[in-house]
Protein backbone atom coordinates (compact mmCIF):
# COMPACT_ATOMS: atom_id res chain seq x y z
CA UNK A 1 0.00 0.00 0.00
CA UNK A 2 1.46 3.37 -0.82
CA UNK A 3 0.70 6.84 0.24
CA UNK A 4 -0.15 9.48 -2.26
CA UNK A 5 1.79 11.98 -0.26
CA UNK A 6 3.58 15.08 -1.30
CA UNK A 7 6.83 13.54 -0.04
CA UNK A 8 8.63 12.06 -2.97
CA UNK A 9 10.59 9.34 -1.23
CA UNK A 10 10.45 6.60 -3.82
CA UNK A 11 8.76 3.47 -2.56
CA UNK A 12 11.74 1.22 -3.15
CA UNK A 13 14.02 3.55 -1.23
CA UNK A 14 11.57 3.84 1.60
CA UNK A 15 11.39 0.08 1.97
CA UNK A 16 15.17 -0.11 1.86
CA UNK A 17 15.56 2.49 4.58
CA UNK A 18 13.04 0.78 6.82
CA UNK A 19 14.78 -2.53 6.43
CA UNK A 20 18.37 -1.34 6.65
CA UNK A 21 18.97 -1.46 10.39
CA UNK A 22 17.62 -4.99 10.64
CA UNK A 23 19.53 -6.07 7.58
CA UNK A 24 22.74 -4.59 8.95
CA UNK A 25 22.34 -6.65 12.11
CA UNK A 26 21.67 -9.76 10.11
CA UNK A 27 24.46 -9.06 7.64
CA UNK A 28 27.20 -8.21 10.09
CA UNK A 29 26.47 -10.77 12.72
CA UNK A 30 24.76 -13.54 10.97
CA UNK A 31 26.07 -13.56 7.44
CA UNK A 32 29.47 -12.30 8.58
CA UNK A 33 29.64 -14.70 11.49
CA UNK A 34 28.67 -17.78 9.53
CA UNK A 35 31.00 -16.99 6.65
CA UNK A 36 33.78 -16.38 9.16
CA UNK A 37 33.08 -19.75 10.75
CA UNK A 38 33.25 -21.36 7.31
CA UNK A 39 36.44 -19.52 6.42
CA UNK A 40 38.10 -20.34 9.72
CA UNK A 41 37.14 -23.96 9.35
CA UNK A 42 39.19 -24.02 6.18
CA UNK A 43 42.22 -22.70 7.98
CA UNK A 44 41.79 -18.97 7.58
CA UNK A 45 43.22 -17.19 10.58
CA UNK A 46 42.26 -13.56 10.89
CA UNK A 47 45.10 -11.19 11.79
CA UNK A 48 47.77 -13.78 11.24
CA UNK A 49 49.69 -13.67 7.99
CA UNK A 50 50.31 -17.39 7.90
CA UNK A 51 46.92 -18.85 7.03
CA UNK A 52 47.06 -22.10 5.14
CA UNK A 53 43.83 -23.03 3.45
CA UNK A 54 43.06 -26.69 3.71
CA UNK A 55 40.23 -29.06 4.39
CA UNK A 56 42.22 -30.79 7.15
CA UNK A 57 39.69 -29.88 9.77
CA UNK A 58 36.89 -31.64 7.92
CA UNK A 59 39.05 -34.64 7.22
CA UNK A 60 39.96 -35.06 10.88
CA UNK A 61 36.31 -34.56 11.82
CA UNK A 62 35.34 -37.42 9.57
CA UNK A 63 37.77 -39.68 11.38
CA UNK A 64 37.01 -38.41 14.85
CA UNK A 65 34.93 -40.90 16.82
CA UNK A 66 33.74 -38.14 19.14
CA UNK A 67 32.17 -36.23 16.24
CA UNK A 68 30.58 -39.23 14.60
CA UNK A 69 28.98 -40.33 17.84
CA UNK A 70 27.99 -36.74 18.44
CA UNK A 71 26.17 -36.38 15.14
CA UNK A 72 24.08 -39.45 15.87
CA UNK A 73 23.26 -38.30 19.36
CA UNK A 74 22.33 -34.78 18.25
CA UNK A 75 19.98 -35.97 15.55
CA UNK A 76 18.44 -38.60 17.81
CA UNK A 77 17.83 -36.12 20.62
CA UNK A 78 16.37 -33.39 18.42
CA UNK A 79 14.11 -35.65 16.39
CA UNK A 80 12.79 -37.58 19.37
CA UNK A 81 12.23 -34.52 21.53
CA UNK A 82 10.34 -32.80 18.75
CA UNK A 83 8.28 -35.85 17.89
CA UNK A 84 7.23 -36.48 21.49
CA UNK A 85 6.59 -32.82 22.20
CA UNK A 86 4.45 -32.51 19.08
CA UNK A 87 2.33 -35.56 19.87
CA UNK A 88 1.77 -34.67 23.50
CA UNK A 89 1.30 -30.99 22.72
CA UNK A 90 -1.32 -31.60 20.05
CA UNK A 91 -3.08 -34.20 22.17
CA UNK A 92 -3.12 -31.76 25.06
CA UNK A 93 -4.52 -28.98 22.87
CA UNK A 94 -7.30 -31.24 21.58
CA UNK A 95 -8.12 -32.35 25.13
CA UNK A 96 -8.27 -28.81 26.40
CA UNK A 97 -10.56 -27.82 23.62
CA UNK A 98 -12.87 -30.68 24.46
CA UNK A 99 -12.90 -30.35 28.17
CA UNK A 100 -12.95 -26.61 28.46
CA UNK A 101 -11.16 -24.64 31.21
CA UNK A 102 -9.17 -22.84 28.60
CA UNK A 103 -7.92 -19.95 30.69
CA UNK A 104 -6.44 -22.26 33.32
CA UNK A 105 -4.67 -24.28 30.67
CA UNK A 106 -3.33 -21.20 28.96
CA UNK A 107 -1.97 -19.88 32.22
CA UNK A 108 -0.19 -23.13 32.95
CA UNK A 109 1.21 -23.41 29.47
CA UNK A 110 2.54 -19.91 29.67
CA UNK A 111 4.03 -20.44 33.10
CA UNK A 112 5.91 -23.43 31.71
CA UNK A 113 7.05 -21.39 28.72
CA UNK A 114 8.45 -18.72 31.01
CA UNK A 115 10.89 -21.12 32.64
CA UNK A 116 14.36 -20.72 31.08
CA UNK A 117 15.96 -23.94 29.81
CA UNK A 118 18.78 -23.66 32.35
CA UNK A 119 16.30 -23.81 35.18
CA UNK A 120 14.55 -26.67 33.41
CA UNK A 121 17.85 -28.54 33.31
CA UNK A 122 18.25 -28.15 37.05
CA UNK A 123 14.68 -29.32 37.62
CA UNK A 124 15.26 -32.43 35.53
CA UNK A 125 18.49 -33.19 37.40
CA UNK A 126 16.72 -32.90 40.74
CA UNK A 127 13.91 -35.09 39.50
CA UNK A 128 15.52 -37.73 37.35
CA UNK A 129 19.05 -38.35 38.61
CA UNK A 130 19.77 -41.56 40.45
CA UNK A 131 19.66 -39.64 43.72
CA UNK A 132 16.78 -37.47 42.57
CA UNK A 133 13.21 -37.25 43.75
CA UNK A 134 11.80 -40.02 41.54
CA UNK A 135 14.55 -42.36 42.66
CA UNK A 136 13.84 -41.57 46.29
CA UNK A 137 10.14 -42.19 45.73
CA UNK A 138 10.87 -45.56 44.22
CA UNK A 139 13.14 -46.35 47.15
CA UNK A 140 10.39 -45.36 49.56
CA UNK A 141 7.94 -47.68 47.81
CA UNK A 142 10.47 -50.48 47.88
CA UNK A 143 11.06 -50.68 44.14
CA UNK A 144 14.77 -49.91 44.36
CA UNK A 145 17.31 -50.37 47.11
CA UNK A 146 19.98 -47.88 46.17
CA UNK A 147 20.73 -45.07 43.76
CA UNK A 148 22.40 -47.43 41.32
CA UNK A 149 19.22 -49.54 41.04
CA UNK A 150 17.25 -46.66 39.61
CA UNK A 151 17.45 -46.50 35.80
CA UNK A 152 20.02 -44.14 34.34
CA UNK A 153 18.07 -41.17 33.11
CA UNK A 154 20.65 -38.43 33.38
CA UNK A 155 24.16 -38.64 31.91
CA UNK A 156 23.02 -41.70 30.03
CA UNK A 157 24.09 -43.09 26.69
CA UNK A 158 20.78 -42.59 24.94
CA UNK A 159 20.17 -39.03 26.02
CA UNK A 160 16.90 -39.52 27.91
CA UNK A 161 17.59 -36.74 30.38
CA UNK A 162 18.15 -34.26 27.58
CA UNK A 163 15.05 -35.45 25.77
CA UNK A 164 13.00 -35.17 28.96
CA UNK A 165 13.90 -31.52 29.49
CA UNK A 166 13.13 -30.55 25.92
CA UNK A 167 9.89 -32.50 25.82
CA UNK A 168 8.85 -30.81 29.06
CA UNK A 169 9.37 -27.33 27.70
CA UNK A 170 8.53 -27.72 24.04
CA UNK A 171 5.26 -29.57 24.66
CA UNK A 172 3.88 -26.37 26.10
CA UNK A 173 5.21 -24.42 23.13
CA UNK A 174 3.65 -26.67 20.52
CA UNK A 175 0.53 -26.95 22.63
CA UNK A 176 0.03 -23.21 22.59
CA UNK A 177 0.57 -23.05 18.84
CA UNK A 178 -1.89 -25.90 18.31
CA UNK A 179 -4.45 -24.18 20.52
CA UNK A 180 -4.08 -21.00 18.52
CA UNK A 181 -4.58 -22.91 15.29
CA UNK A 182 -7.64 -24.66 16.69
CA UNK A 183 -9.16 -21.40 17.79
CA UNK A 184 -9.47 -20.10 14.29
CA UNK A 185 -12.84 -21.37 13.33
CA UNK A 186 -12.06 -25.06 13.20
CA UNK A 187 -14.97 -25.94 15.44
CA UNK A 188 -17.44 -24.47 12.97
CA UNK A 189 -15.95 -26.53 10.16
CA UNK A 190 -16.10 -29.65 12.33
CA UNK A 191 -19.74 -28.97 13.16
CA UNK A 192 -20.52 -28.51 9.52
CA UNK A 193 -18.79 -31.77 8.75
CA UNK A 194 -20.75 -33.54 11.47
CA UNK A 195 -24.02 -32.19 10.06
CA UNK A 196 -23.02 -33.55 6.70
CA UNK A 197 -22.61 -37.00 8.27
CA UNK A 198 -18.89 -37.30 8.80
CA UNK A 199 -17.81 -39.62 11.63
CA UNK A 200 -15.35 -38.63 14.36
CA UNK A 201 -12.38 -40.24 12.65
CA UNK A 202 -13.22 -38.64 9.34
CA UNK A 203 -13.65 -35.24 10.95
CA UNK A 204 -10.29 -35.54 12.61
CA UNK A 205 -8.46 -36.61 9.46
CA UNK A 206 -10.05 -34.25 7.02
CA UNK A 207 -10.84 -31.17 9.07
CA UNK A 208 -8.88 -30.95 12.31
CA UNK A 209 -5.55 -32.31 11.18
CA UNK A 210 -5.21 -30.17 8.05
CA UNK A 211 -6.04 -27.13 10.12
CA UNK A 212 -3.35 -28.00 12.62
CA UNK A 213 -0.68 -29.27 10.33
CA UNK A 214 0.84 -26.10 8.90
CA UNK A 215 1.52 -24.28 12.14
CA UNK A 216 2.37 -27.38 14.17
CA UNK A 217 4.85 -28.63 11.56
CA UNK A 218 6.43 -25.22 11.31
CA UNK A 219 6.73 -25.05 15.09
CA UNK A 220 8.17 -28.57 15.16
CA UNK A 221 10.83 -27.69 12.67
CA UNK A 222 11.74 -24.66 14.76
CA UNK A 223 11.99 -26.84 17.85
CA UNK A 224 14.14 -29.39 16.06
CA UNK A 225 16.58 -26.75 14.89
CA UNK A 226 16.67 -25.15 18.31
CA UNK A 227 17.37 -28.41 20.13
CA UNK A 228 20.07 -29.37 17.64
CA UNK A 229 21.88 -26.10 18.22
CA UNK A 230 21.65 -25.59 21.93
CA UNK A 231 24.39 -26.10 24.48
CA UNK A 232 23.34 -25.73 28.10
CA UNK A 233 20.93 -28.62 28.48
CA UNK A 234 22.99 -31.31 26.71
CA UNK A 235 26.05 -30.23 28.67
CA UNK A 236 24.34 -30.45 32.04
CA UNK A 237 22.23 -33.54 31.41
CA UNK A 238 24.48 -35.50 29.06
CA UNK A 239 27.73 -37.42 29.12
CA UNK A 240 31.20 -36.10 28.35
CA UNK A 241 31.31 -38.69 25.58
CA UNK A 242 29.38 -38.75 23.42
CA UNK A 243 28.17 -35.18 23.67
CA UNK A 244 25.99 -33.24 21.24
CA UNK A 245 27.57 -31.23 18.43
CA UNK A 246 27.37 -27.80 20.09
CA UNK A 247 29.08 -29.18 23.20
CA UNK A 248 31.82 -30.71 21.06
CA UNK A 249 32.25 -27.47 19.13
CA UNK A 250 32.76 -25.46 22.29
CA UNK A 251 35.12 -28.08 23.71
CA UNK A 252 37.35 -27.89 20.64
CA UNK A 253 37.16 -24.10 20.68
CA UNK A 254 38.44 -23.96 24.26
CA UNK A 255 41.37 -26.27 23.59
CA UNK A 256 44.65 -24.53 24.34
CA UNK A 257 46.04 -26.25 21.29
CA UNK A 258 45.00 -23.65 18.73
CA UNK A 259 45.11 -26.16 15.90
CA UNK A 260 41.81 -27.43 17.25
CA UNK A 261 40.18 -24.09 16.32
CA UNK A 262 39.48 -24.99 12.68
CA UNK A 263 37.93 -28.21 13.92
CA UNK A 264 35.66 -26.26 16.25
CA UNK A 265 34.61 -24.09 13.32
CA UNK A 266 34.03 -27.15 11.18
CA UNK A 267 31.70 -28.62 13.81
CA UNK A 268 29.89 -25.28 13.97
CA UNK A 269 29.50 -25.34 10.20
CA UNK A 270 28.15 -28.87 10.47
CA UNK A 271 25.49 -27.72 12.94
CA UNK A 272 24.66 -24.83 10.65
CA UNK A 273 24.30 -27.18 7.71
CA UNK A 274 21.89 -29.39 9.62
CA UNK A 275 19.84 -26.36 10.58
CA UNK A 276 19.80 -24.87 7.07
CA UNK A 277 18.15 -28.02 5.80
CA UNK A 278 15.50 -27.50 8.43
CA UNK A 279 15.02 -23.86 7.47
CA UNK A 280 14.23 -24.94 3.92
CA UNK A 281 11.63 -27.32 5.30
CA UNK A 282 10.25 -24.52 7.47
CA UNK A 283 9.68 -22.24 4.56
CA UNK A 284 8.03 -24.84 2.44
CA UNK A 285 5.61 -25.31 5.30
CA UNK A 286 4.97 -21.70 6.20
CA UNK A 287 4.12 -20.84 2.62
CA UNK A 288 0.98 -22.78 3.36
CA UNK A 289 0.39 -20.97 6.63
CA UNK A 290 -2.84 -19.00 6.86
CA UNK A 291 -3.05 -15.53 5.30
CA UNK A 292 -3.00 -12.79 7.93
CA UNK A 293 0.40 -13.79 9.30
CA UNK A 294 3.48 -12.40 7.53
Amino acid sequence: MSFSSSRSVPRGLRILLLLTPALVVVAVFFVGGVSQAVAQSFGYQPFLPSSRWSADAYRSLWHDPAVRASLGLTIRVSVLSTFLAAIIGVAGALLIRRVGSRTWAHAMFQANLAVPHLVGALCMLLLLSQSGLLSRLSHATGLTSGPADFPELTQDRFGWGIIAEYVWKETAFIGVIALAALNRGVSELEDAARLLGAGAGQRFRHVTLPALLPSVSAASVLVMAFVAGSYEVPYLLGRPYPATLPVVALEYYRDVDLTARPQAMAVAVLITGVSVVLVAAYFTLTSRLVRREL
Binding site: A22, L23, F29, H106, A114, L122, L127, S131, Y282
Partner: protein
Protein backbone atom coordinates in the same frame (compact mmCIF):
# COMPACT_ATOMS: atom_id res chain seq x y z
CA UNK B 1 -11.13 -40.14 31.91
CA UNK B 2 -10.26 -37.30 29.62
CA UNK B 3 -10.30 -34.93 32.54
CA UNK B 4 -7.82 -37.17 34.31
CA UNK B 5 -5.42 -37.11 31.38
CA UNK B 6 -5.77 -33.37 31.10
CA UNK B 7 -5.16 -32.96 34.81
CA UNK B 8 -2.05 -35.11 34.51
CA UNK B 9 -0.78 -33.08 31.60
CA UNK B 10 -1.34 -29.74 33.24
CA UNK B 11 0.21 -30.95 36.49
CA UNK B 12 3.21 -32.23 34.57
CA UNK B 13 3.71 -28.78 33.16
CA UNK B 14 4.55 -27.30 36.52
CA UNK B 15 5.25 -30.14 38.96
CA UNK B 16 8.95 -30.51 38.07
CA UNK B 17 9.43 -27.09 39.62
CA UNK B 18 8.40 -28.47 43.00
CA UNK B 19 11.69 -30.19 43.99
CA UNK B 20 13.42 -26.95 43.10
CA UNK B 21 11.32 -25.00 45.56
CA UNK B 22 12.02 -27.50 48.33
CA UNK B 23 15.77 -27.49 47.65
CA UNK B 24 15.87 -23.71 48.08
CA UNK B 25 15.26 -24.12 51.80
CA UNK B 26 17.00 -27.47 52.36
CA UNK B 27 19.89 -27.68 54.76
CA UNK B 28 20.71 -31.32 54.38
CA UNK B 29 18.70 -33.51 52.03
CA UNK B 30 20.54 -36.71 51.23
CA UNK B 31 19.33 -39.83 49.52
CA UNK B 32 16.97 -41.54 50.32
CA UNK B 33 15.08 -38.94 52.36
CA UNK B 34 11.85 -37.72 50.84
CA UNK B 35 11.98 -34.51 52.78
CA UNK B 36 14.96 -32.43 53.89
CA UNK B 37 16.30 -33.38 57.29
CA UNK B 38 16.68 -29.76 58.19
CA UNK B 39 15.73 -26.44 56.70
CA UNK B 40 17.83 -23.35 56.31
CA UNK B 41 17.74 -19.87 54.89
CA UNK B 42 21.33 -20.20 53.69
CA UNK B 43 20.28 -20.36 50.06
CA UNK B 44 18.11 -17.29 50.22
CA UNK B 45 20.75 -15.41 52.20
CA UNK B 46 23.23 -16.07 49.44
CA UNK B 47 21.03 -14.15 47.06
CA UNK B 48 21.41 -10.97 49.03
CA UNK B 49 25.03 -11.46 50.04
CA UNK B 50 27.23 -8.77 48.56
CA UNK B 51 30.23 -11.12 48.76
CA UNK B 52 28.74 -13.28 46.04
CA UNK B 53 28.39 -12.06 42.45
CA UNK B 54 24.63 -12.57 42.55
CA UNK B 55 23.61 -8.94 42.94
CA UNK B 56 26.10 -7.91 40.28
CA UNK B 57 24.68 -10.62 38.05
CA UNK B 58 21.14 -9.43 38.63
CA UNK B 59 22.07 -5.88 37.75
CA UNK B 60 24.04 -6.89 34.66
CA UNK B 61 21.29 -9.17 33.39
CA UNK B 62 18.67 -6.48 33.86
CA UNK B 63 20.73 -3.77 32.18
CA UNK B 64 21.64 -5.96 29.24
CA UNK B 65 18.09 -7.21 28.88
CA UNK B 66 16.66 -3.71 28.88
CA UNK B 67 19.24 -2.46 26.40
CA UNK B 68 18.78 -5.40 24.05
CA UNK B 69 15.02 -5.06 24.25
CA UNK B 70 15.12 -1.36 23.46
CA UNK B 71 17.52 -1.60 20.54
CA UNK B 72 15.94 -4.71 19.08
CA UNK B 73 12.52 -3.07 19.09
CA UNK B 74 13.87 0.12 17.58
CA UNK B 75 15.34 -1.93 14.77
CA UNK B 76 12.45 -4.34 14.44
CA UNK B 77 9.76 -1.67 14.30
CA UNK B 78 10.70 -0.20 10.90
CA UNK B 79 11.59 -3.63 9.55
CA UNK B 80 8.19 -4.91 10.60
CA UNK B 81 6.56 -1.98 8.91
CA UNK B 82 8.29 -2.75 5.63
CA UNK B 83 7.38 -6.41 5.84
CA UNK B 84 3.83 -5.91 7.00
CA UNK B 85 2.64 -2.98 4.93
CA UNK B 86 4.41 -3.44 1.64
CA UNK B 87 4.44 -6.14 -0.94
CA UNK B 88 7.68 -6.15 -2.86
CA UNK B 89 9.82 -8.52 -4.75
CA UNK B 90 12.38 -10.08 -2.50
CA UNK B 91 10.01 -9.95 0.44
CA UNK B 92 10.33 -13.68 0.87
CA UNK B 93 14.09 -13.43 0.72
CA UNK B 94 14.12 -10.73 3.36
CA UNK B 95 11.83 -12.81 5.57
CA UNK B 96 14.18 -15.72 5.15
CA UNK B 97 17.20 -13.61 6.01
CA UNK B 98 15.50 -12.15 9.03
CA UNK B 99 14.34 -15.48 10.40
CA UNK B 100 17.43 -17.53 9.67
CA UNK B 101 19.22 -16.33 12.83
CA UNK B 102 16.39 -17.90 14.75
CA UNK B 103 17.08 -21.29 13.24
CA UNK B 104 20.83 -21.36 12.84
CA UNK B 105 22.42 -21.72 16.24
CA UNK B 106 23.86 -18.57 17.72
CA UNK B 107 26.81 -20.64 18.88
CA UNK B 108 28.11 -21.04 15.34
CA UNK B 109 27.91 -17.33 14.69
CA UNK B 110 29.44 -16.33 18.01
CA UNK B 111 32.39 -18.66 17.39
CA UNK B 112 33.00 -17.11 14.01
CA UNK B 113 32.92 -13.48 15.06
CA UNK B 114 34.52 -13.79 18.47
CA UNK B 115 38.02 -12.97 17.31
CA UNK B 116 36.71 -9.77 15.71
CA UNK B 117 35.08 -8.70 18.90
CA UNK B 118 38.39 -9.17 20.65
CA UNK B 119 40.14 -7.08 18.04
CA UNK B 120 37.57 -4.31 18.22
CA UNK B 121 37.79 -4.25 22.00
CA UNK B 122 34.17 -5.33 22.32
CA UNK B 123 34.86 -8.59 24.08
CA UNK B 124 34.56 -8.71 27.86
CA UNK B 125 32.27 -5.72 27.70
CA UNK B 126 28.59 -5.22 28.30
CA UNK B 127 28.22 -3.35 25.00
CA UNK B 128 29.74 -6.29 23.13
CA UNK B 129 27.28 -8.65 24.75
CA UNK B 130 24.37 -6.33 23.97
CA UNK B 131 25.47 -6.16 20.33
CA UNK B 132 25.79 -9.88 19.89
CA UNK B 133 22.43 -10.48 21.58
CA UNK B 134 20.79 -8.36 18.92
CA UNK B 135 21.25 -11.24 16.58
CA UNK B 136 18.66 -13.59 18.03
CA UNK B 137 16.29 -10.84 19.15
CA UNK B 138 15.89 -8.60 16.11
CA UNK B 139 14.21 -11.37 14.06
CA UNK B 140 11.58 -11.83 16.75
CA UNK B 141 10.95 -8.14 17.07
CA UNK B 142 10.63 -7.83 13.30
CA UNK B 143 8.27 -10.81 13.17
CA UNK B 144 5.97 -9.49 15.87
CA UNK B 145 5.88 -6.02 14.36
CA UNK B 146 5.44 -7.48 10.88
CA UNK B 147 2.32 -9.31 12.00
CA UNK B 148 1.05 -6.22 13.78
CA UNK B 149 1.59 -3.95 10.81
CA UNK B 150 -0.10 -6.43 8.52
CA UNK B 151 -3.20 -6.05 10.68
CA UNK B 152 -2.89 -2.31 10.89
CA UNK B 153 -5.53 -0.27 9.17
CA UNK B 154 -3.51 2.33 7.33
CA UNK B 155 -6.51 4.56 7.02
CA UNK B 156 -5.89 5.95 10.49
CA UNK B 157 -2.49 7.18 9.42
CA UNK B 158 -3.85 8.51 6.19
CA UNK B 159 -6.55 10.43 8.01
CA UNK B 160 -4.03 11.95 10.39
CA UNK B 161 -1.89 13.04 7.47
CA UNK B 162 -4.77 14.60 5.61
CA UNK B 163 -5.70 16.41 8.81
CA UNK B 164 -2.29 18.03 8.66
CA UNK B 165 -0.15 15.96 11.05
CA UNK B 166 3.47 15.55 10.05
CA UNK B 167 5.02 12.10 9.74
CA UNK B 168 6.56 12.23 13.22
CA UNK B 169 3.34 13.23 14.93
CA UNK B 170 1.49 10.56 13.02
CA UNK B 171 3.99 8.01 14.15
CA UNK B 172 3.91 9.02 17.79
CA UNK B 173 0.25 9.69 18.25
CA UNK B 174 -1.43 7.35 15.82
CA UNK B 175 0.76 4.42 14.84
CA UNK B 176 2.42 3.69 18.15
CA UNK B 177 -0.76 3.70 20.26
CA UNK B 178 -2.43 1.44 17.74
CA UNK B 179 0.47 -0.96 17.97
CA UNK B 180 0.80 -0.88 21.73
CA UNK B 181 0.05 -4.58 22.31
CA UNK B 182 2.64 -5.56 19.74
CA UNK B 183 5.19 -3.23 21.26
CA UNK B 184 4.65 -4.76 24.68
CA UNK B 185 4.92 -8.27 23.28
CA UNK B 186 8.08 -7.51 21.31
CA UNK B 187 9.73 -5.75 24.24
CA UNK B 188 8.85 -8.56 26.59
CA UNK B 189 9.97 -11.29 24.24
CA UNK B 190 13.31 -9.72 23.46
CA UNK B 191 13.94 -9.02 27.14
CA UNK B 192 13.25 -12.63 28.03
CA UNK B 193 15.46 -13.99 25.26
CA UNK B 194 18.29 -11.82 26.50
CA UNK B 195 17.61 -12.74 30.13
CA UNK B 196 18.01 -16.46 29.42
CA UNK B 197 20.96 -16.25 27.02
CA UNK B 198 24.04 -18.19 28.07
CA UNK B 199 26.40 -19.28 25.29
CA UNK B 200 26.76 -15.96 23.53
CA UNK B 201 27.30 -14.10 26.78
CA UNK B 202 29.95 -16.66 27.71
CA UNK B 203 31.81 -16.42 24.42
CA UNK B 204 31.71 -12.68 23.92
CA UNK B 205 31.59 -11.59 27.57
CA UNK B 206 34.58 -13.81 28.29
CA UNK B 207 33.58 -14.52 31.86
CA UNK B 208 33.89 -10.89 32.85
CA UNK B 209 30.33 -9.97 31.98
CA UNK B 210 28.59 -11.84 34.76
CA UNK B 211 24.96 -12.43 33.98
CA UNK B 212 22.63 -14.61 36.02
CA UNK B 213 22.63 -17.53 33.51
CA UNK B 214 26.42 -17.66 33.74
CA UNK B 215 26.29 -17.86 37.51
CA UNK B 216 23.47 -20.38 37.43
CA UNK B 217 25.30 -22.65 35.01
CA UNK B 218 28.32 -22.78 37.32
CA UNK B 219 26.11 -23.32 40.35
CA UNK B 220 24.27 -26.24 38.76
CA UNK B 221 27.55 -28.04 38.21
CA UNK B 222 28.62 -27.57 41.82
CA UNK B 223 27.86 -29.69 44.85
CA UNK B 224 25.84 -27.00 46.62
CA UNK B 225 22.34 -27.72 45.34
CA UNK B 226 20.71 -25.35 47.81
CA UNK B 227 22.61 -22.40 46.38
CA UNK B 228 21.87 -23.49 42.82
CA UNK B 229 18.16 -23.82 43.58
CA UNK B 230 18.05 -20.38 45.17
CA UNK B 231 19.75 -18.87 42.16
CA UNK B 232 17.41 -20.72 39.82
CA UNK B 233 14.48 -19.23 41.70
CA UNK B 234 15.92 -15.78 41.13
CA UNK B 235 16.36 -16.53 37.43
CA UNK B 236 12.86 -17.88 36.89
CA UNK B 237 10.81 -15.30 38.78
CA UNK B 238 11.09 -12.26 36.49
CA UNK B 239 10.12 -14.20 33.32
CA UNK B 240 7.19 -15.80 35.15
CA UNK B 241 5.93 -12.50 36.47
CA UNK B 242 6.45 -10.59 33.23
CA UNK B 243 4.87 -13.26 31.08
CA UNK B 244 1.87 -13.58 33.34
CA UNK B 245 1.39 -9.84 33.29
CA UNK B 246 1.37 -9.87 29.50
CA UNK B 247 -0.60 -13.11 29.16
CA UNK B 248 -3.82 -11.56 27.85
CA UNK B 249 -1.87 -9.96 25.04
CA UNK B 250 -0.23 -13.22 24.06
CA UNK B 251 -3.17 -15.55 23.76
CA UNK B 252 -4.00 -16.52 20.23
CA UNK B 253 -1.08 -14.75 18.64
CA UNK B 254 0.92 -17.58 17.21
CA UNK B 255 3.33 -15.15 15.60
CA UNK B 256 4.41 -13.96 19.00
CA UNK B 257 4.49 -17.43 20.45
CA UNK B 258 7.13 -18.39 17.93
CA UNK B 259 9.59 -16.58 20.09
CA UNK B 260 8.68 -17.85 23.49
CA UNK B 261 9.66 -21.45 22.90
CA UNK B 262 13.19 -20.30 22.53
CA UNK B 263 13.42 -19.38 26.16
Amino acid sequence: MRRAFLGLLLAGLLLPLLPLLVWVVSGTWRYPDLLPSDLTTRGLNLLGDRRTPVLEGLLTSTVIGAAVSLVACLIGFPAGRALGLYRFRGRRVVQFLLLAPVIVPGLAVALGIQVFFVRLGLSDSVSGVVLVQLMPTVPYAATVFGAAFANLDVDYERQARTLGAGPVRTLLFVTVPLLRPAIVVAALLTFLISWSEYVMTLLIGGGQVKTLPLLLFAAIGSSDTTAAAALALLVVLPPLLLLMAAAPLLSGRSGAMVGVGRL
